[in-house]
């Protein structure tokens, strides 16, 4: 039985990795496969993965096992430095549904993109990023150790940023891709610090050890309260960055620069839930920390209200959907904070499917509106809620402006995070110039005169 499970688990992980290797290698040596072959390869491997996951699910239900662990041992181990990178994958009640959803969504989007991007110059690039993304997601969802989760998390971040900048011949996709990448790095930094702290306090990164080998969602951590507070805070920042909670919400609409399918699956449906998934996975560890749960709830609630308001003023379909996604992720985070973990899981999966479908058919909006108008027999009401119209006029305008500016979140990040860095680097540049001038004598050209 165990060996069958291991085989299936190997297929789940192996197929996407194989796709990535084939696509990546042929791309690297400048011998890209023809589009038809890329399509077949991706479809085949996704289908295999899906079937294998279903098999695992069947065995788990049949044998009443609630958890399977695939331990690949240490990838790196440096004894005297107490460093090890442990690869371990868990198939349990949390990860299997997520993996199933991933395969279905990614499979559908893959065959959508195969038609949609046909003949486009970036077809191959898309599918390479696509398989990096898939591998990253599987690693993140199945991770049994925090370092494995980080690996998956990074791969997802990398491929997301590259896909946002898919149309790299235009300026704004590249700028927005860079911006998203920047925010991801903030989240990564917080994540990495949290991982190090965890290792420091518990000497390991295995989730299972932390919760006394109890399958999710049982078990409780034995971290001391301060440790779990610090780790929890950092992980909350990481989740906020990755899931677009405030104050990082501004990146999600900016991510809509890529081709429609990539926006749909990656930012609308999957990437956006990665932060929530992280919180869900580690929820048992923080179940006892009231401070963290209160903070988490507050963050989720504020995000949900903020995003609900902002999405109402958006006039383009993709931004409106992006903010609605943020709103739902806020609610999911609230659910996790309240301890409704299964509800949160169902919510994540349902939301991912709904949003993907909505984003995929976003370009058909005009036709949908016409159909609705014809059915109703008149112009559509825009459904402005009553509480807005009841506000005093100047309040209404103030709040409208607030929502239109997306809560000034981006400019706050610019001022609070970017500006200090810029100033610092400019100061370095000046120092370097002064230093060079001193070395070189007065002839050193400072700058090209306009």
């Amino acid at each position: 039985m165990v060996s069958v499970m291991n085989c299936l688990a190997a297929i789940v992980l192996g197929c996407p990795i194989l796709t990535l290797l084939i696509l990546g290698f042929t791309g690297l040596v400048q011998r890209p496969l023809p589009e038809r072959l890329v399509d077949r390869l991706t479809k085949f491997h996704v289908a295999m993965g899906l079937v294998a996951t279903l098999g695992i699910l069947g065995i788990m239900i049949g044998t009443n096992h609630s958890m399977e662990v695939l331990d690949l041992g240490n990838f790196v181990e440096i004894g005297q430095e107490h460093f090890h990178f442990h690869l371990e994958f868990i198939f349990d009640r949390l990860s299997v549904p997520m993996v199933l959803m991933t395969f279905v969504l990614v499979g559908v989007i893959g065959s959508f993109a195969n038609v949609y991007l046909q003949g486009d110059a970036g077809y191959y690039r898309f599918f390479v990023c696509f398989s990096i993304f898939l591998v990253g997601l599987l690693f993140a969802f199945l991770a049994g150790t925090i370092e494995t989760l980080f690996l998956g998390w990074e791969l997802v971040g990398l491929s997301s940023a590259l896909l946002i900048a898919y149309f790299h011949e235009r300026k704004s996709p590249v700028e927005n891709g860079l911006r998203v990448w920047g925010i991801y790095r903030v989240a990564d930094a917080a994540f990495l610090m949290a991982a190090l702290m965890m290792h420091h306090w518990t000497d390991q990164g295995e989730f299972l050890r932390m919760v006394n080998d109890q399958p999710w969602p049982q078990g409780a951590s034995h971290l001391d309260p301060w440790a779990s507070l610090w780790v929890g805070l950092l992980l909350l920042i990481a989740a906020a960055g990755k899931s677009g909670l405030i104050p990082f919400s501004g990146w999600l609409p900016r991510a809509m620069e890529g081709p429609t399918p990539s926006s749909a699956v990656f930012y609308g449906a999957l990437s956006i839930h990665l932060g929530a998934y992280l919180l869900l996975r580690l929820a048992p560890i923080f179940a006892d920390s009231l401070v963290i749960r209160v903070l988490m709830f507050a963050l989720g609630a504020l995000t949900a209200i903020y995003a609900a308001m902002t999405s109402r003023v958006q006039t383009d379909i993709k931004s409106a959907l992006a903010f609605s996604s943020v709103c739902q992720v806020g609610i999911i985070v609230m659910e996790i904070a309240l301890g409704f973990w299964y509800l949160a899981l169902v919510h994540i999966i349902g939301h991912a499917f709904l949003r993907s479908l909505q984003l995929l058919r976003a370009p058909t909006l005009l036709r949908d509106y016409r159909t609705l108008e014809n059915a109703i027999g008149g112009r559509l009401a825009n459904g402005q809620p009553a509480w807005i119209s009841q506000m005093a006029n100047h309040r209404q305008i103030q709040w409208y402006r607030f929502a239109l500016e997306r809560g000034y979140m981006d400019s706050m990040i610019d001022q609070a995070l970017l500006e200090p860095f810029r100033k610092l680097f400019k100061a370095f540049e000046r120092m370097e110039n002064d230093w060079l001038r001193w070395l070189d004598g007065p002839s050193w050209p400072r700058r090209k005169d306009p």
């Binding site: 149309f167 409106a320 609605s324 919510h347 995929l360 909006l365 108008e373 402005q384």
Partner: protein
């Protein structure tokens, strides 16, 4: 270039600045400048009604070649394809050497043989520059190229060995004769024993040196460059800060909200007030979180409010504080408004041309917008200057050197300056030309300064734009020759029939002996002139040679506002230039009205529910509920993506329950007198609609007579089909662009249906009979609708067909079904996702799936590849494979009067429409990023008005890359079956048509009605065309011709065994 004054020095500018102190502009000046700018805005309205039009409409008063250059200066958009692209076409055989030679000969005319230098004529010089790529680049690049590549060691690859040795021989001979005067050089001169390589590199180095000498003695040459117009351009150029980025980001959000037609659930408060006031309210708010420049903005707004400035006063104030002077005002306003052309154009469209939208703009909005834009620009600029001062807080940067005053001086200077070519650049061009023409350095050294100047002038006169123009002419010529040859190779027309004994039934007596003009016709088909119907008509004729087909503008001269039984609003179904006066409703048949009421009620309830769901899924509470159940969405998603055709079939079956019943009829007849207008059946219709409901019998007879006259249709088969056309596709914001252009971007089915009903009405026929037009009793018109995307064909009102016609109908239906399959098969050869070996039945299934596929970015290719418009009898083009590239308009010159009234009205409709389509495709192809709307993949519908690229961008106008990727950009060639005299007379009477023709926005040729003689329009007259001797390809049928081919196909004759 004429409109640029000569280069001024900085001193001149300073002097002029003293003379013209800052002026306050008058409102009239500003208004005038805005009006000037309006012409340059894109004139595409809300995307739900997409009408093809000439992208450079504003420049139509200029000749084409000038206009594209003006467009380049104004918008920075490419005027032609790139030089490299034309060269590729040359190597592919799409442009022949002969084409280039002919074009050049024609273009230079009598000055072709003027010698330039060293015995080279102007013709030779230009030909060399056309045939070979001339490289150029910035100085640094050139220096690198010369230093790091073997540019000075080997001749260019395209210099023939004989030319190469000629140059070297000449140098060797010269060295032998003048061994004392060997030019000084870094390397020692080669001797007789030196190897060929050494001679080569020595020669080239010398040549390059000579060219540098030559280049430095000549006067300055202006490069083709786009001048600097705004302060932003200067700051961008000098400090790399683009002030427009944040301004545009704000404006896109603000304009999105202001123009929103009902998408946002929370609309701009008090949206009905003037734009300027809205902006002041909204952006007057200060908040600590705001970035600096928005704080600056609210200060500026506060100033404006304190001084109580109106929008025009605010503009004047802004212009003053930006230091603008009279010189360059127009340019400044143009480019300010053109920094977000799509949105700005949409404001103007909403203000003037969109009264049918839910929320049009009030007049004066564009002025408001300019005031807003200038305020934002000022705020952004001020903040940028602050930023620069802060970052460069070094003592050496002079204080205030980047003040607004300084910038506005810079602006004044730049507005008059042009980029100059450097000596290195000129020398490098000379160096290449010398190699191509075999000039040796010793010869060149003997040139005097005036000769160098002359040579340089000649070379500059054939700059890259000129070369591209000539290559484009060659590109067009190649296709024109093919097209005209093909038409000339058709069998000559039959001699005119003897005058008919009378307009009696004799001409329609099908049972009489079949002579050439009276052979039986199995049925007749009237379609739109659309190029997509060319193949449909051709395959119909192929399947059954006794079918006759005709083409007329797809509204079939029935202009109307139409509302189907399931529609909420009337839509105009006629060309945009016509404003219909009549309203036509589709209503349920009497026996089905109860059912239809129930269905309408069900639709209404379902519609409300799905609207709630749609809105709710984006909100907080309802959104939670819907996403918890969201897993259900996986079913339709998986099904739609993996099996689009099957899913749509199932959806259709389910939708049957509420789908409007097919048992409807059109209320085309005015059934109550106008005085009793309020008694109409259409209770919900607008009062105007009630007043003008339906047509009178007289009007119907006029329309029928007109269309039949235009078509030259006077011999009727038992069944006459008339097909309107349209297209349906999913996930396609540009869907309306695929519909019938002659129906204003609508679907032409109702027009065909209305026409058939009119022509079948015995009372109408009676009126026509009194006018001498007899439609035999046995003839029945059948209206239909052809979906050009899925190739489905729908027939209307066939239940009213007389039983005696049923067999004919079924036979015809079988033929039409076969034609649909063959048509689909021909279309599929263009789609890379359809394999080349598809059988016709598979092809039909493939195109059906395309229309239902959410993922399909190319449901069909629309008018892509359009190139020709033929106006004349079908028999002149019948049997010719035209590869779906030709509009086919039926016109019978033998029945037209001496004043060519019929031709006049046909051309009045056909030339503007086809030229509009052809030119929109032209411009969207040559510069897809600026004239077109870029790739479709990241498009994002905004405000229900148009598409943006990605998260936020300008509103994109024009056609997408996926629509034009297979298009060959050419001006459309009209071939008119008429005499040059008649055509010239029509042009003389119609200045609008004349502008298209004489300014060369279209190409024009005539085909004599009685012979195969072709004459081509040229500079106000016609010249005889001599067909080339290349014989046309011959095939048994279309399938044999296009089978296993993806690319464009040249003309072919079909039906020959």
């Amino acid at each position: 270039m004429e409109d640029h004054p000569g280069p001024d020095t900085y001193q001149d500018i300073e002097q002029k600045k003293l003379n013209t102190t800052t002026v306050a502009f008058s409102p009239e000046q500003v208004h005038h400048a805005i009006e000037h700018a309006i012409h340059y805005l894109p004139s595409q309205g809300p995307i739900a009604v997409f009408v093809h039009h000439n992208t450079l409409h504003a420049f139509e008063h200029l000749p084409f070649e000038l206009a594209v250059i003006e467009g380049w200066k104004k918008y920075g958009a490419e005027p032609y394809l790139s030089e490299d692209r034309y060269r590729q076409e040359f190597f592919r055989g799409r442009i022949a050497q002969q084409d280039i030679e002919q074009v050049l000969t024609m273009d230079l005319a009598h000055c072709a043989d003027e010698p330039i230098v060293l015995g080279t004529t102007r013709y030779e010089l230009r030909l060399a520059m056309l045939m070979h790529p001339i490289r150029n680049g910035p100085d640094e690049e050139l220096r690198w190229f010369i230093a790091e590549t073997n540019a000075l060691r080997a001749f260019r690859d395209d210099v023939s060995p004989s030319l190469e040795s000629k140059i070297i021989r000449s140098v060797q001979q010269w060295m032998e004769q003048n061994s004392q005067a060997v030019p000084a050089s870094a390397t020692t001169a080669p001797t007789a024993e030196s190897g060929a390589e050494q001679w080569k590199s020595w020669t080239l180095e010398w040549l390059h040196r000579v060219c540098i000498t030559g280049a430095s003695v000549v006067g300055e040459v202006l490069n083709d460059a786009i001048p600097v117009r705004r302060h932003r351009d200067i700051v961008l150029g000098s400090h790399g800060i683009d002030c427009d980025v944040r301004v545009n980001e704000q404006l896109i959000r603000f304009l999105g909200s202001a123009t929103d037609q009902g998408f946002a659930q929370w609309g701009l408060p008090d949206r009905d007030r003037p734009l300027f006031k809205l902006f002041q309210e909204l952006y007057g708010i200060r908040s600590v979180f705001q970035p600096n420049w928005l704080k600056e903005l609210s200060d500026l707004i506060a100033q404006d409010r304190a001084a109580d400035r109106s929008s025009i006063e605010s503009i004047i104030h802004s212009l003053k504080s930006l230091g603008l002077r009279e010189y360059g005002l127009d340019d400044f306003i143009d480019s300010t408004l053109l920094s977000l052309p799509g949105w700005t154009g949409m404001i103007w469209q909403l203000e003037t041309n969109a009264e049918w939208t839910p929320r049009p703009f009030r007049s004066g909005s564009l002025e408001d917008y300019l005031a807003i834009r200038l305020l934002l620009d000022r705020a952004s600029l001020r903040s940028a200057l602050g930023q620069i001062a802060e970052l460069e807080s070094q003592p050496s940067v002079q204080q205030g050197s980047l003040s607004m005053e300084r910038l506005s001086q810079d602006l004044q200077f730049h507005q008059r300056r042009n980029v100059r070519q450097t000596v290195d650049q000129r020398a490098f061009i000379l160096f290449q030309v010398a190699q191509l023409l075999g000039w040796s350095p010793n010869e060149l050294e003997s040139l005097s300064t005036p000769q160098w100047q002359n040579l340089m002038d000649e070379i500059s006169a054939c700059g890259t734009m000129e070369r591209r123009r000539l290559l484009h002419l060659a590109y067009e010529r190649h296709y024109r020759i093919e097209a005209l040859d093909a038409i000339a190779s058709q069998p000559p027309p039959p001699p005119p029939p003897p005058p008919l004994p009378g307009p009696g039934p004799a001409s329609t007596n099908l049972e009489s002996q079949p002579s050439e003009s009276q052979r039986p016709i199995s049925f007749q088909v009237i379609t739109c002139i659309d190029d997509r119907e060319e193949s449909f008509r051709r395959v119909l004729e192929e399947i059954d040679p006794s079918i006759e087909t005709f083409g007329a503008a797809g509204f079939f001269s029935v202009p109307m506002y139409f509302r189907s039984s399931s529609d909420a609003h009337y839509i105009p179904l006629c060309p945009v230039v016509i404003k219909p006066k009549h309203f036509v409703d589709e209503i349920g048949q009497l026996s089905k009205q109860e059912l239809q009421k129930r269905q309408a009620e069900a639709r209404r309830v379902l519609g409300h529910a799905s609207h709630r769901l749609h809105m709710g899924s984006r909100s907080l509470a309802a959104g939670t509920l819907t996403s918890l159940l969201g897993s259900l969405a996986s079913l339709p998603m998986v099904a739609r993506v993996l099996a689009p055709r099957l899913t749509s079939r199932i959806r259709e079956l389910v939708a049957q329950v509420v789908k409007p019943n097919q048992a409807t009829l059109l209320l085309i007849e005015r059934i109550w007198p106008e005085t009793k207008a309020d008694a109409g059946p259409a209770e919900s219709a607008a009062p105007e609609a009630k007043l003008n409901q339906g047509f009178t019998l007289e009007e119907m007879a006029n329309m029928v007579q007109r269309l039949l006259g235009d078509l030259g249709l006077h011999r009727f088969a038992r069944l006459v089909y008339i097909f309107g056309h349209g297209s349906s596709s999913l996930n396609n914001p540009h869907e309306s662009a695929y519909n019938c252009g002659a129906c204003g971007g609508g679907r032409g089915g109702p027009n065909a249906r209305a026409f058939a009903m009119m022509a079948n009405d015995y009372r109408v026929r009676k009126i026509l009979e009194t006018r001498g037009l007899v439609i035999p009793e046995s003839t029945w018109f059948v209206g239909g609708y052809h979906n050009t995307c899925t190739d489905s064909v729908e027939f209307f009102d066939i239940d009213r067909l007389a039983p005696s016609c049923h067999m004919d109908f079924l036979r015809a239906q079988a033929v039409i079904d076969q034609a649909r399959e063959r048509n689909a098969s021909e279309r599929c050869r263009r789609f890379t996702s359809a394999s080349l070996g598809l059988k016709p039945t598979e092809a039909l299934r493939h195109v059906e799936a395309r229309g239902e596929d959410l993922a399909q970015a190319r449901p069909e290719y629309n008018h892509a590849t359009n190139a020709v418009c033929f106006v004349g009898r079908r028999l002149r083009t019948r049997g010719l494979f035209m590869d779906r590239r030709s509009f086919l308009t039926s016109y019978d010159p033998t029945t037209d009067g001496p004043g060519s009234e019929i031709l006049t009205r046909i051309l009045q409709a056909v030339i503007p429409v086809c030229a509009g389509i052809s030119l929109e495709y032209y411009f969207s192809t040559v510069d897809n990023a600026i004239y077109g709307c870029g790739s479709k993949l990241p498009h994002n519908i905004t405000s229900l008005l148009g598409v943006m690229e990605g998260a936020a961008s300008d509103l994109r106008t024009g056609l997408s890359q996926q629509m034009v990727e297979i298009h060959e950009p050419m001006r459309i060639l009209f071939v008119i079956e008429s005499t040059p005299k008649a055509v010239l007379e029509i042009l003389a009477r119609n200045p609008v048509l004349d502008r298209f023709v004489s300014n060369r926005w279209v190409q024009l040729a005539t085909l004599a009605p009685d012979s195969n003689r072709i004459e081509v329009y040229q500079d106000g007259g016609f010249v005889d065309y001599q067909p080339t001797s290349i014989s046309i390809r011959v095939f048994t049928d279309s399938y044999a011709c296009y089978h296993h081919q993806r690319d464009h196909l040249s003309f072919a004759r079909l039906g020959v065994q």
